[in-house]
């Protein structure tokens, strides 16, 4: 089963993403910020990480940089959730090793369609 780590400080978005993924047959683990996300990432293998950018304690960009340092996450797709569609943001994400980004707002159908570009 495909395992996804969902990191977002907003309960409603995290629930929505997680619920959508679960109903499509993915297995999800949730974390409320980058710090918790990193701890959970170290505690298990994931096939995909979906993370918000703006979060307290540790932001998504830092999380991404940290994850790429881990052997287990060298090739793992990491998608950033962002409302900032500016190239600046994308470059920052890329530089940190992010695979791609999902621009908010998105709906469940779009989410599922999009992540198919990186996992099955």
């Amino acid at each position: 089963m495909t395992k996804v780590l969902v990191v977002d400080d907003s309960n409603s978005i995290r629930d929505m993403v997680s619920f959508t993924l679960k109903s499509a047959g993915y297995q999800t683990t949730e974390a409320k910020d980058g710090q918790e996300g990193l701890v959970k990432a170290k505690g298990g293998n994931f096939d995909l990480v979906i993370s918000d950018v703006n979060m307290p304690n540790m932001d998504g960009i830092t999380l991404c940089t940290e994850l790429r340092k881990l052997a287990n996450f060298k090739f793992t797709p990491i998608l950033m959730l962002t409302t900032e569609s500016s190239t600046d943001m994308k470059m920052k994400g890329k530089a940190a090793g992010a695979t791609g980004w999902l621009v908010k707002p998105f709906n469940p159908e779009k989410l599922l369609a999009t992540i198919k570009r990186v996992v099955r």
Binding site: S12, S23, F75, S85, A98, W101, F106, L112, V118
Partner: protein, 700 residues
């Protein structure tokens, strides 16, 4: 597949309101250079915007986008944090709240206000309103099938970003019929292969009705790590298509297609297409009644302790029933123990259940920093609000009803209490006025104090005004506290000019009535030149009352403990009979009218002689009266049952309760009883009573 998003909306709304509160309090405390704070404000706005877009509240998204942009500029240091901007942002917070509330209730909102604020934001941002934000949902429909030739040459390092070409190809295959040719010509010898690198490139042919943008979107994440050519194969178009589109994204010079080794050609047949839903219609939250009353957030620890207690109760119950099935006198000890335990369990359970209704008073206090901030700007005075004891817990119902009276008291403190800075400085005070709000528990009650270090209450002004209004006699001698109590008389206002903040002549009497309706009381204290203090005393809960049980004839009545001043035995020498069947009892400097309870309720009492009878002195509405009763019984907590729900409203009775022996006892409504006594006295049409009783005439 479709996912019903509406189930996440309540959670989103709750989160948004929390976010708004955070933004508000953050903005109020915002100082230039406080980057942590501005970040957290930005994050709150950002989350609201993201959530709103996802859940279909587009007006919220659009509006919040402006706010977010402004905050973003502040966050990056591109914009200085000025008071003007903070004001606009605070106003915007109100607007977002308005929009979200409208979305929640399915109501209309004040679109003028939103528009005005949005214009101000736009001006602040110095650019035209942007509408670019919703494009991501709009899917272009292109119905004609086209033949695309896609040349995809990834960089060696592509895999290191977590992208895998196979998924990109699969995603393409879902758009139509895809033919894939892989080019392995650049593959080095086995010894030279770096396993982390990607050596292949692909030439793809796609027959699809998708637009070129749809295809680009699939490669969106890798466009910087590859060479990508998307062309429409003109020769193979099923229908004549006049325009040819060539996309050449990331390399200036077009390279010829590498087609040296056509190793294999495979056709990936399209999977059933995922339906792209046009998501332009907002998901509307079902209109519901104002949700404040509906639900309550309870900490998990409170629920756990309840479950724990119920568990214990079940154990005690099974122990007792086992004992009962085979009982003889030798087991009496165990029975007593069991019953003791049952008592303990029940008590704890009751307390825990009551605690569920308790919320920290910060729920009521949270809006005051903003209130004081706004009032300070409106009045041009400088002031600071200090809040203490915001973790003090209070019954939810009491909390909901105490908000407005507190707002009024704070407005009063700002308007009448705090002086303008010049006057303060002239009087040797600090430039900033201080208003403090303090909550704490005191003997089963909660006390809320609102104090200011302003000018205090001018006793003579109050007195003269009251005389002018005919509330008191010009010759009356009143203590300070009696004078201050006049502030709560209906229609009393001492402000020289009526301002729009307070002093419309309605208010303080309403404040007092509201507090009394909650079973509480309010006291005023003031030192001229140094400030005033309003002390509100409230019961912790409305569902349970500490009562004194008294006996009159065969009936048991309950007097709320909070209203009892003292109980005494009547001594003849202090009795005074005035005309109109009214007896007064001299209690130190007061003359207390005596109300025999048996007369009020028309029942038979054992004791109908005043001499040596028991008198319970109670106070309500600043008025003391003595209730004559037969006997004083125990003091205990009683659960209030509404008489109105179960029978009908009865004057002089505020409710009923069921006593331990199963009998019903009435809870006395002290203000109501005073009113009854007064009407009775007025009916008997005799001469005037002392000033004090006249004052009660205001209570109607």
């Amino acid at each position: 597949m479709t996912v019903d998003l509406s189930q996440f909306i309540p959670s989103f709304l709750e989160e948004s309101f929390e976010g708004l509160e955070l933004m508000e309090s953050g903005l109020l405390n915002l100082q230039a250079g406080d980057s942590e704070l501005i970040h957290s404000i930005f994050r709150a706005a950002h989350s609201i915007k993201g959530g709103a877009g996802t859940f279909g509240f587009e007006n919220v998204t659009d509006f919040t986008h402006l706010v977010e942009t402004l905050l973003d500029e502040m966050r990056d240091g591109r914009r200085e944090i000025t008071n003007d901007d903070t004001e606009i942002l605070l106003e915007s917070v109100d607007c977002i709240r308005l929009l979200i509330e409208a979305a929640r209730d399915g109501d209309e909102y004040d679109s003028d206000k939103i528009e005005q604020t949005s214009d101000r934001l736009t001006i602040a941002l110095e650019k035209k309103p942007t509408t670019d934000n919703n494009d991501s949902f709009k899917e272009e429909k292109c119905t004609k099938e086209k033949h695309y030739i896609i040349n995809f040459v990834p960089e060696l390092s592509l895999a290191k970003t977590g992208n895998d070409p196979i998924f990109l190809l699969s995603a393409l295959a879902e758009l139509g019929t895809l033919t894939v040719k892989a080019d392995s010509s650049t593959l080095p010898a086995l010894n030279d292969i770096d396993p982390l690198e990607l050596y292949l490139s692909w030439q793809l042919r796609l027959i699809s009705d998708a637009s070129i943008e749809d295809i680009e979107e699939i490669f969106e994440w890798v466009e910087d790590e590859c060479e990508l050519d998307i062309t429409i194969d003109e020769a193979n178009q099923p229908e004549k298509n006049p325009e040819q589109t060539t996309l050449n994204k990331n390399h200036e010079s077009e390279e010829p297609l590498k087609q040296n080794n056509d190793e294999e050609t495979q056709v990936i047949t399209p999977e059933p297409k995922i339906e792209v839903v046009k998501e332009n219609s907002p998901i509307t939250a079902k209109p519901k009644a104002k949700s404040d009353v509906g639900s309550i957030r309870v900490g998990v620890d409170k629920v756990d302790s309840l479950i724990n207690l119920v568990g214990e109760l079940v154990i005690t119950q099974s122990m007792l029933s086992e004992l009962g099935s085979d009982f003889d006198l030798s087991k009496l000890d165990r029975l007593t123990n069991g019953l003791e335990q049952l008592l303990q369990n029940t008590k704890e359970l009751q307390e825990s259940v009551m605690r569920i209704r308790m919320l920290p008073i910060s729920f009521a206090f949270n809006r005051f920093p903003r209130l004081v901030h706004d009032l300070a700007i409106k009045t041009g005075k400088e002031m600071e609000l200090i809040i203490k004891g915001e973790q003090t817990e209070l019954d939810k119902t009491v909390m909901e009803q105490i908000g407005d009276p507190l707002v009024h008291l704070i407005r009063n403190a700002v308007d009448h209490g705090i002086e303008p800075s010049e006057i303060r400085l002239a009087n040797g005070k600090s430039k900033k006025g201080i208003i403090s709000l303090d909550a704490y528990h005191q003997g089963g009650n909660i006390v809320i104090e609102i104090s200011d270090d302003g000018s205090g209450i001018n006793r003579d002004n109050v007195f003269n005004k009251a005389v002018e209004k005919g509330l008191i006699d010009a010759n009356a001698t009143l203590s300070d506290s009696q004078v201050y109590d006049l502030l709560f008389e209906p229609g009393f206002s001492t402000a020289q000019e009526v301002t729009d903040i307070s002093g419309r002549g309605v208010g303080m009497d309403v404040v007092k009535r509201n507090i009394q309706a909650l079973g509480g009381r309010i006291q005023v204290d003031s030192t001229p030149g140094q400030g005033s203090n309003f002390k509100v005393n409230l019961p912790l809960t409305l569902a349970i009352l500490d009562g004194q049980l008294v006996k009159v004839g065969t009936e048991t009545y309950i007097i709320p403990l909070i209203s009892i001043v003292e109980s005494l035995q009547i001594e003849k020498e202090f009795l005074n009979r005035v005309s109109g069947d009214m007896d007064l009892y001299r209690l130190r400097e007061d003359n207390v009218p005596i109300l025999p309870v048996f007369q009020l309720f028309n029942i038979d009492a054992q004791c109908n002689e005043l001499d040596n009878a028991l008198l319970v002195v109670v106070e309500a509405d600043g008025q003391k009266v003595g209730l004559m009763v037969d006997d004083l019984l125990a003091q205990q907590q009683v659960v209030i049952k509404s008489l109105k729900d179960n029978y009908q409203q009865v004057l002089g009775i505020s409710g009923a309760t069921i006593l331990g022996d199963g009998s019903v006892a009435m809870i006395l409504d002290i203000p109501g009883m005073i009113q009854m006594a007064l009407e009775k006295a007025q009916r008997s049409q005799h001469q005037k009573y002392p000033n004090q009783i006249e004052k009660v005439g205001g209570y109607n």
